[in-house]
Subunit: 342 residues, 2 copies
DNA sequence: TTGAAAGCGCTAACAT
DNA sequence: ATGTTAGCGCTTTCAA
């Protein structure tokens, strides 16, 4: 690889001049500029960003640490992050934890060694994890989940609203007996969705039937198992299942169908998060959309503000609104009865 | 940030000694080792990988350039890549082209500036793109697609086999009239799948009905539109549609259902690639699985061999086998007639 | 307007 | 066994 020294020799100028023309950091006469540019072209020279980073103490690199890129919730977020990183001349490192908590710790360490300019951390739920992050001294913003009392840079959605919206829609459709399949309440988003369900029920003048509340996590397996459990144990079946995530809804619908229960004719199902598959699921899923791309985008935009440090140092929390997506897994009850009798 | 100099001062040893204990690159007495480690702990010191990279001429970083991380074909591949990068102490940069060809060129440039140790390029189809890659001088391996006469490092699957397998399965089910919805034949994988369809038909003693061959690309929109076209124009309907990708199959099924045509009762549909959603699609899709995670994994393993340069410099092409996945979108024709008459 | 030189934090050859 | 030092490729101050 050619270096600046090579260029300076070929162009017969000083190395400082080469630097100046490359970075437009000082006026250089047209003649010398020309000579330098010719030499650069001749040698197919590209500046060494590593050397530059060492001197500048900035790598023009941000990293995202995500829990699982195979989970369809994240690719859109990653795309949003990469898009704004690219637009700002930054490179984007992806760190996929793959459910290995030791790996989280290790990635943090690597990112301080590699001198990443900033981090976005999807799904930091526990204070211990946050402490690890703080200890790195790196700039960062949290994305999606957050630890209980966290009040610094954060981008997420209004999870409480997701379930309030769901319940409101369900109530408007005539449903009154609503089961809730909760996520892991250790997780902020799951907690908020559960709270939203309760407040939503209250707002609609409905009461939460404890016998129809099932705890689990965001996976389809959880939805599947809780449905089996409900089918086996509940004294009365609900008219509709409100799931904490689309995957949970998928699992629920699978279990329902295995038992010959039709969705939405016999029991309706409501999702949450608008998984890219939901539109074409066995039964197209009524759900609540989360602006995933926007979340990723805003997370690294916020990170850049933090990095530039220009912004007044007030920590900012950005909370985006979800929106209802009506499809086929929930229907107006009146119409329903008509269908059932045919 | 603390530096080695700080450590050497605190531990009262030379900077070379610090380096030696950190890298285990030379014997250091237990006493000095102890002092150095204490100082490191005391200052929460982490070596600066940028400085190290400058000296070592290696960044311990690989990059993947992919066409679209939101396409469900890629997350598993990305996971495979990140897993082996991590396992080998390398960092992983993700470059998402997002269908902007200028961005491809730009990413290559950045990666030479940032001194990436190697590149894996998903979906390089054209010689001009390959020329750009070659021009960087970086080590690389191609993944999935490849330009026509390319014979260097490559990891992909046997695409010809995918469709041969499909046709064989379809024939065994009793189907004889098979439509083919092709991908963009500029793309190696689409070309191979189309060839496999033809040879598969030949092997089964079936003939390809040109009126039932439709050209398009891998998107569901393409499948949707070609189905509409077929429904409107074809003199005879096929018994089954063999699609070049699962997305195409999704689009086809959607269009079929919109016209009141049942899948698989009236017309069956066969996919190709085993999209993560296919299992739970409106009608669970019979398809051919591509080992996506393995592809990503092997791609960076091959890249590491290339980087280490230990391997004899023979270019290697790894072609993985696909495997049939039987679900519900195709059925035994005999059983079918039974069902239809009920 | 241009050039010389110091220094970013590290590794390794060499000296002791 | 440990220390001194040059140098990786760049930016930037300072001098000319």
């Amino acid at each position: 690889m050619a270096t600046m020294k090579d260029i300076s020799r070929i162009a017969d100028v000083s190395i400082a001049t080469v630097s100046a023309v490359i970075n437009h950091s000082a006026f250089v006469s047209p003649e010398l500029t020309e000579r330098v540019n010719n030499a650069i072209r001749e040698l197919n020279y590209r500046p060494n960003a590593v050397a530059r980073s060492l001197k500048m103490k900035s790598t023009k690199t941000v990293a995202a640490i995500v829990t699982d890129i195979e989970n369809p919730y994240y690719p859109a977020m990653v795309k949003g992050m990469d898009d704004v990183a690219f637009a700002n001349g930054f490179s984007f490192m992806l760190c996929n934890i793959a459910n290995d908590s030791e790996r989280f710790r290790k990635y943090l360490e690597v990112m301080v060694e590699k001198q990443a300019d900033g981090l976005v951390l999807a799904n930091v739920s526990r204070d211990e994890e946050l402490a690890l992050v703080e200890r790195t001294g790196l700039k960062y913003v949290l994305l999606n989940r957050k630890p209980p009392a966290y009040d610094k840079n954060y981008v997420g959605i209004n999870n409480t609203l997701t379930t309030e919206l769901s319940v409101k829609h369900l109530a408007s459709l005539g449903y009154r007996s609503i089961a809730y399949f909760a996520g892991n309440l250790q997780i902020s988003t799951a907690r908020e969705r559960w709270e939203g369900f309760q407040s939503g029920m209250h707002q609609q003048g409905l009461k939460v039937d404890e016998a129809l509340v099932f705890h689990g996590n965001y996976t389809s397996q959880s939805g599947y198992e809780n449905t089996k459990k409900m089918l086996a144990e509940a004294r009365r079946m609900p008219e509709v299942i409100c799931a904490a995530s689309d995957l949970v809804a998928f699992g629920a619908i699978k279990a329902l169908r295995e038992s010959g229960i039709r969705v939405p004719e016999d029991i309706a199902v409501m999702g949450n998060d608008n998984n890219p598959f939901s539109e074409n699921f066995i039964v197209p899923l009524t759900t609540v959309d989360h602006p995933k791309y926007e979340m990723g985008k805003l997370a690294v935009e916020l990170l850049f503000k933090e990095i530039e440090g220009t912004e007044q140092k007030l920590a900012r929390q950005i909370v985006l609104p979800p929106s209802l997506v009506v499809r086929e897994s929930c229907r107006w009850r009146g119409e329903l009865y008509g269908l059932n009798s045919s």
